[in-house]
Symmetry: C2
Subunit: 714 residues, 2 copies
Amino acid sequence: MHLLALAATAFAVEGMWEPSQLPALAPTLRAAGYLDDPARLGDLGNAPLGAVVSLGGCTASFVSDLGLLVTNHHCGVGMLQRAQKDGESLLESGFYAPTRADERSAGAMRRVWITDGFEDVTRKIRTAADRARDDRQRVDLTDDATRKLVAACEKSGAYRCRVASFYEGERYSLIRQIELRDLRVVMAPPDMVGNYGDEVDNWHWPRHSGDFFFLRAYVGPDGKPAAYSPDNVPYAPRHRLVVATRGISPGSFVMVAGYPGHTERWRAAVEVEHEARLKLPETIKHATGVFDLLTATIEADPAASALVGPSRGSIGNGLFNAKGTLEAFRRGNMVAAARARDAALDSWIAADPARLARYRAPIDALRLAAVEGEEHLRRDSLMDWIARGDLLHAASTMFRWSLEGQKPDARRELGFQERDRDRARARVVELQAGLHLPSERAIFERFLTELLSLPAAERPAELMAWLGAPSGDKLDAVGLAARAASRLYDAPALADADQREAWFGRPEGAFVASADPFISLAVALRPYEAAREERDKTRRGAELRTRPLYAEALRGMDPARTYPDANGTLRVSVGTVQGYSPRDAVKYGSQTTVLGLAEKAGDWPFAAPKPLLDAIAAEKWGPWIDPTLGSVPVNFLSDLDITGGNSGSPVLDGRGRLVGLAFDGNIEGIASDWRFELDKTRCISVDVRYLLWYLDAVQKADGLLLEMGVAPAI
Amino acid sequence: MHLLALAATAFAVEGMWEPSQLPALAPTLRAAGYLDDPARLGDLGNAPLGAVVSLGGCTASFVSDLGLLVTNHHCGVGMLQRAQKDGESLLESGFYAPTRADERSAGAMRRVWITDGFEDVTRKIRTAADRARDDRQRVDLTDDATRKLVAACEKSGAYRCRVASFYEGERYSLIRQIELRDLRVVMAPPDMVGNYGDEVDNWHWPRHSGDFFFLRAYVGPDGKPAAYSPDNVPYAPRHRLVVATRGISPGSFVMVAGYPGHTERWRAAVEVEHEARLKLPETIKHATGVFDLLTATIEADPAASALVGPSRGSIGNGLFNAKGTLEAFRRGNMVAAARARDAALDSWIAADPARLARYRAPIDALRLAAVEGEEHLRRDSLMDWIARGDLLHAASTMFRWSLEGQKPDARRELGFQERDRDRARARVVELQAGLHLPSERAIFERFLTELLSLPAAERPAELMAWLGAPSGDKLDAVGLAARAASRLYDAPALADADQREAWFGRPEGAFVASADPFISLAVALRPYEAAREERDKTRRGAELRTRPLYAEALRGMDPARTYPDANGTLRVSVGTVQGYSPRDAVKYGSQTTVLGLAEKAGDWPFAAPKPLLDAIAAEKWGPWIDPTLGSVPVNFLSDLDITGGNSGSPVLDGRGRLVGLAFDGNIEGIASDWRFELDKTRCISVDVRYLLWYLDAVQKADGLLLEMGVAPAI
């Protein structure tokens, strides 16, 4: 065991690799325990990568020839809410469709994206951008080139395309994806299985979450992507994963394939410092307020939990992340480390006249730009929180569509082209989370009060005019905010989905003339938002010029920096099943078991359902037992490199078979978006044997098992 | 490592052995790693046992030829308070006497007892007791025999003697001890070293406490025990421990020698059940009230912390223990386990007519007696809390002395003979903890209010008369309690130590005639107390008859029960340095380090002093480094069997050398007074290398190191 662990540690490599990089990693992969052909591993036209899809914010993978997808329970919560009928609480009870007829739509805005190919378009984008006369125009030329590439790619109607930037804009890829639009809920365990331990266990180990969820993708009877229809048929994926019923052990080679959203490992020191000094504290302050407010809402009215719970969970998770990251910054002296790295970079640049000429000026500009606008941070973050309210956000989005809709499609802002219309409409009509007006109103009032308490110069004039508020420093912030909240929320017509549906696509004039308070506020705030967008574009234009050079210089100094930041594209990380030492004299093993789950059982959030506890007490493990552990494993740790967007990603063994689903990171590695630490950063996955045992012994979902090619055994 | 750990586990034996049992354990000891002659180990006339002394409630050991003793910091807190001068806060600052002239008296009531010999007196005691005509008289005859044996033993004046009962009264030993009466404080680390982590870490692992404390015992210039005098000289102990500067590692053999006070491993099932159902919940309820009250006192008046802090700590510790024990009872199904054992015992008895004749009736009687008086439990426990107040306790003690003083010495109650007078007087005059009248008053008022709220029949008539309270159910409990508190505490003459000194030894008539409210309350309550004592004696008389037979039957059924419950006499436990698994996927290593200590540092209770943190940052470990760990070890775990009274006990290696000081148990083993579990029960000790490194690198106490025969090295 010790030798294995040492071998594993010696192998471990940080990195979210692009598929195209995998063949070059072949020797490393083979040494680590990958048993198939590494050249094939990078191939999207093959399993396993061909089976790994994006849900937008989460990852899933095909596990049957009939479009069955597996992902995380926490990725499916919103779909479950959407699928639920009056009087049901599917979150609490769980859901299982024994036949396809029982499956329920996950909602019109849900999509599955299957990556079909990459094309390097660096030259096309950067040549266009380099024709710019200034930073501001650089953005327009880049966006124009992007729109043209996307339009050409989507022309046949078979694909959905996007352009992604790698290495801070040093390289661009055009990504071609198949988009499926009819997604249905097949199986969800009860919340107290899928979310066992809730916030008490969130980010923590030892963990015992059954964080899995089954969906099915449907297409039209002609086999082509189509919106929901009862006539649709299951999608036949080109590739699917095989389930590894034998599982993993400590020291096992594992890899994860998925769609990580965003990392910050290429930030300049001044940006790290800005994050630690201003952005994280600001986020923590505001998120704490909202989280406490939503908690109080649920305490006062437990029935609100179904609507408010998911938002609260998501904000709580972000808050915990922000606090943990700030703490990790402090403990890891990350600002100092970033400063030291940048100082080394400066020396490296200064050592060579050619480097000085190429890098000095743009890197200085990048650093200066990082602290620009700091003085408005508070105002802008308060305005962002206000704009996040479901109804104001819907009104602003719809108004923006009316404005962009006046332009030719090829000239519109990214995200407001005809290709985006259906999904944008669905989002506005359905709304992301459940609408709960009392808490939304309270949040609006809270942030507006705070905004009105800023110095007069920081209060957006457009907002003050809409409020009919006096200029000057003295005003009754509390009273004004309460009156505004009353104006908006006393009788909000937009709370009705039909009203929203009707507004979507109306002309600009209808918005401008409207007396609806949300519509009129959205119209009033548009100039403020447009000004911010212009400022952001100028800034982005400068970054399009400076960031690639900063990344190039960093790689020049340190050739070990061999993978780009996460950007929502398909990546693979390789590693080892292993525990870690969180602190002096404590060692975490890499696997938990159903016996540990039962030991934790008690009050919420450990209120394990009786059928689960009964099945554990019966000790019928079937083939899902781990012989070394003596019962069924639940979760496992590995040093795989993941981040938000990887949720639901398949964890694969040395033959590319499914052994688990990644669903969380550990508290000690919570700042891994900024820095990955081999000895501390861990990925938490649910063991596929727990999923199989649960389906077999608790859910008795024989059909689902058979569809995955697994024989029920209990 | 794995093989060693397995070997160790196979060896591990539960048990607090009497020294006389050790030679018989020789094969086990040798196999486990004891390297000296096991026959010698049981010998009080030799090191190491000859160097291990009782402080009454704690254990210490001689570590120099000049009477230097080492024990736990938490055993020394009261002495430190006593030694402190106005304006000093020795608890906070720590204390070090660089020369003997700087050492300070630990207070007149402090004693050191050096065990000099045991004599089996079973026949003498039990023959006397067997002449009793009833259970009540059995107590008197047993006490008479005890007094005679003690008087004969102490006649020469060289010894202090006591009779201890083993195996529930199956066996008695007369124990001869040398008593030293001049004890001085030599060195105490600051509270934030000795008590690092306070209640957050109490009972917890990983731990980083420097729980050590140095005292020196003095005798008269003639070498004989004497009360404090500036002319006294250091005591020259016959035996002292050698310090093992190389320390221990995981898997090492260790043993601990000390004076464990009390365990409950021979209780009948009905007593276990009584504890779980009534006594622990009652303790938790009342201790929670007092703990919260003292916490609020300190929060409102931080200056009160010096006086109230130690009581609060002690009550908090007891409360945590009671809660943890109750929880462990539940988790371990201990009531059910005890019932199963008693059921097996009943079968074993029923299987043989001779057993039936000998055991059936007395064991039935024992079980019946266990639930007697349950209906008065609440009243009696409230009266006990009231009687615990410093001033009322002093008044009652002094009145009792006046009553007992009228009898011939040989007829007085145990504890009220002339041999007990000096120490009793010192306790009353000095008081155990710092006197803090506002909190004492609040506690009195709280419990009196609760007592007065009991049904009328449960309120002691003597107390009601003193209060001038109406009989009958209706009374104003709050108002009455407030008036009584005012009567006692508005101007309490007994708060003055000189007043207490003056009262001690006054005749009964002076007490009866006194108008002092505490004295008059003590006089008023005497009949209530006398009645309880009579009831307890009758009960004890029955137990003197039945308990030895219960123990004998248990041992008959299960010959593996080979050691008696702790009873404050010298015991040895043997075991292994090893960690444990507290829960699924978590493994605790057996050692912590100064690096882990520094990692924890922050706000109180982790406010490590700067000189300590600086010394750690300097990384000068000297010879005190553990080569495997790479820095200085702080605390370690072992499966040694300890309980209250063992605090400060020397932990010894295979050659009997000092490797640590036991100071705590772990939360998972908190019910070990009732049941020892090899896989969960652990003893937490401070590693002697931390002590040495601290003295060397932080305290720069070269003199202290040299006196222990250790060369300073940093």
